[in-house]
């Protein structure tokens, strides 16, 4: 299967990092992928200044791409400021996945990004342009 599902994607899928719900948390948001109905939620705990991410967890069932993407994305969040998170480029997450994501799977790959942005921006955000192209 060449590089369609790299081992590390499958590893993240089978043993996702940061999975579950943080309780208590400062921020929480859930959203879904309209093409398949898969839902994902994210809960965030902030530091004392309420400026930086102290801890994060995601929850929900989904495909290997969406689960690995959430696992990889959340691994990288601790210590980041909310402003940094808001400024994150979805393209970087796609790069981090390291496998080619066809247009029909972009929403799978970017659902975690959308949920995270919803959490830090205080409400649902639009899909990143990358994922819009094919409706």
């Amino acid at each position: 299967m060449d590089n369609l599902y790299r081992d590390f994607i499958l590893e993240h899928y089978r043993n996702p990092h940061n999975k579950g719900v943080l309780d208590p948390h400062d921020l929480h948001f859930a959203d879904s992928n309209p093409t398949c109905g898969d839902e994902m939620s994210m809960s965030l705990r902030l530091d004392d200044g309420k400026e930086r991410i102290a801890d994060v967890a995601f929850d929900g069932r989904g495909c290997a791409i969406s689960q690995a993407s959430a696992s990889i994305l959340t691994d990288d969040l601790r210590g980041k400021s909310l402003d940094d998170v808001r400024a994150m480029d979805p393209g970087e997450l796609l790069d981090d996945l390291g496998v080619p994501i066809g247009p029909a799977r972009l929403k799978c790959a970017l659902l975690s990004y959308k949920v995270l942005q919803g959490a830090v921006q205080g409400g649902a955000v639009a899909w990143p342009e990358e994922a819009e192209a094919v409706g």
Partner: protein, 426 residues
């Protein structure tokens, strides 16, 4: 699976008296080229939309090139020609579904619009607060949401016939809910999510005895088996041209003449009127009353060509062909550990549509690996979320057969299942 030459034309026949799917692939230009991965395209997504045979594409191109003008009011050769071909397609459709008259054939965009037309026009005229409508848990969203909107608007109640663990309608529940006196029962002849074939003639009789009209969603049946509205006995029937080798943008609502005659227009505008003054309008006869504006002229003609193609094969043969493919695929999938198949076992009640899930592998990932293998299947909720909810699944993978498929395609399907399990299992 090895790369095969494009569309090998063989004379191998699948099943007694039927045709060869392998040979028919030669009629469909989409099979001429290999996939991006260099594989032979194994198209198992007819339930979403079918490829088009050359005959349909050429009929369309010819209609646009040499016989195209607006219809119905042009006093010149080209418009008369276009009109005759457009109305000829209407007659072809009437013949295909056994309609007593082509005046009962309304051209719409797709099955979805056909159902919305009935919900808006018949529904808002005939439904009162407190009335009931009945549909089923196995419907496509197109046969659920319009009724939800309608019943919410008029203050009526929508009920759903339950489905059994193996995806059949629960006939006791149907009888019980018909006893509540719904004004209309809307149900699919074939479920796109489960493949179930509902006994629509029998159900129509039950419904009529209970005083309910019956709308049959034939989007998944008309392409795959003989249909006769008189034999079914139903009152409305909806179908989509694009699922039966025809163009996109064209579909059919059939309705009994006396029902259509009594229904107000849905959309309004040109062609559907007799007279317009500043005070109001007087509407044309059916079916024109329901065809506001310039119709999908060439697409209707293309649908006529698709029907010619299907008629030449014989719808009985198409059904028989798919039954054999279903039997083989159902059995082969049943032998692979970790595969869960949905829907009824009995090939008499299961069309050429197989929904399945692989243990521990999300259907989206299944479809991606399949794509890599050249096998086009659908993964998701198939616009039938209540079915997913019923079986507590987020989604399924669905393989659906048509006349151009053959046993090699069934093998490709099972090979792809094994390849997927290997990627995720190993």
């Amino acid at each position: 699976m090895a790369v095969e030459p494009a569309s090998p034309i063989t004379t191998r026949t699948i099943g007694p008296g039927a045709f060869s799917g392998t040979a028919l692939r030669g009629d469909f230009p989409v099979f001429d080229a290999p996939t991006r991965q260099g594989k032979r395209l194994v198209y198992l997504d007819a339930a979403a939309s079918s490829p088009k045979p050359r005959a349909v594409i050429e009929a369309l191109a010819d209609a646009y090139a040499h016989h195209y003008a607006n219809v119905h009011r042009g006093i010149y050769e080209l418009s008369e020609d276009a009109t005759a071909r457009f109305e000829g397609a209407r007659r072809r459709v009437a013949g295909f579904i056994g309609a007593p008259s082509e005046r009962e054939i309304v051209f719409v965009r797709n099955a979805t619009e056909a159902i919305n037309l009935v919900a808006y026009s018949w529904g808002r005229t005939n439904l009162s607060p407190g009335d009931r409508l009945l549909t089923t848990q196995l419907e496509h969203h197109a046969n659920i949401v319009p009724w939800q909107q309608l019943t919410a608007e008029v203050g009526a109640t929508l009920e759903y016939v339950a489905i059994t663990d193996d995806g059949r309608l629960d006939m006791d529940d149907l009888a019980a809910k018909l006893a509540n006196g719904p004004k209309l029962l809307a149900l699919a002849q074939v479920s796109n999510a489960l493949g179930t074939i509902n006994p629509v003639a029998e159900i129509t009789e039950m419904a009529h005895r209970a005083g309910a009209l019956v709308l049959v969603d034939a989007a998944q049946s008309a392409p795959h088996m003989p249909i006769d509205v008189r034999q079914i006995g139903c009152d409305f029937l909806a179908l989509s041209g694009h699922k039966m080798l025809g163009p996109s943008g064209i579909g059919i609502l059939w309705g009994r003449r006396e029902l259509l005659d009594a229904m107000p227009p849905f959309m309004t505008g040109g062609s559907m009127i007799i007279r317009v003054t500043l005070e109001g309008a007087e509407f044309n006869e059916v079916p024109y009353r329901f065809e506001a504006g310039t119709p999908a002229i060439a697409e209707a003609i293309g649908l006529g060509a698709a029907i010619d193609y299907l008629d030449a094969l014989g719808m009985d043969n198409v059904r028989e062909h798919e039954r054999l493919l279903f039997e083989r695929a159902w059995a082969a999938l049943g032998e692979i550990p970790g595969v869960r198949r949905l829907g009824p076992d009995d090939p008499d009640t299961h069309a050429g549509v197989i929904s399945f899930v692989l243990d521990g592998i999300h259907p989206h990932d299944v479809a991606t690996v399949f794509d890599h293998e050249g096998v086009a299947v659908r993964a998701g909720h198939h616009c039938a979320m209540p079915v997913m909810t019923r079986y507590d699944l987020p989604a399924t993978t669905r393989a659906s057969f048509y006349l151009y498929n053959d046993t090699d395609d069934v093998d490709a399907l099972t090979d792809a299942v094994r390849a997927t399990q290997q990627v995720f299992g190993g």
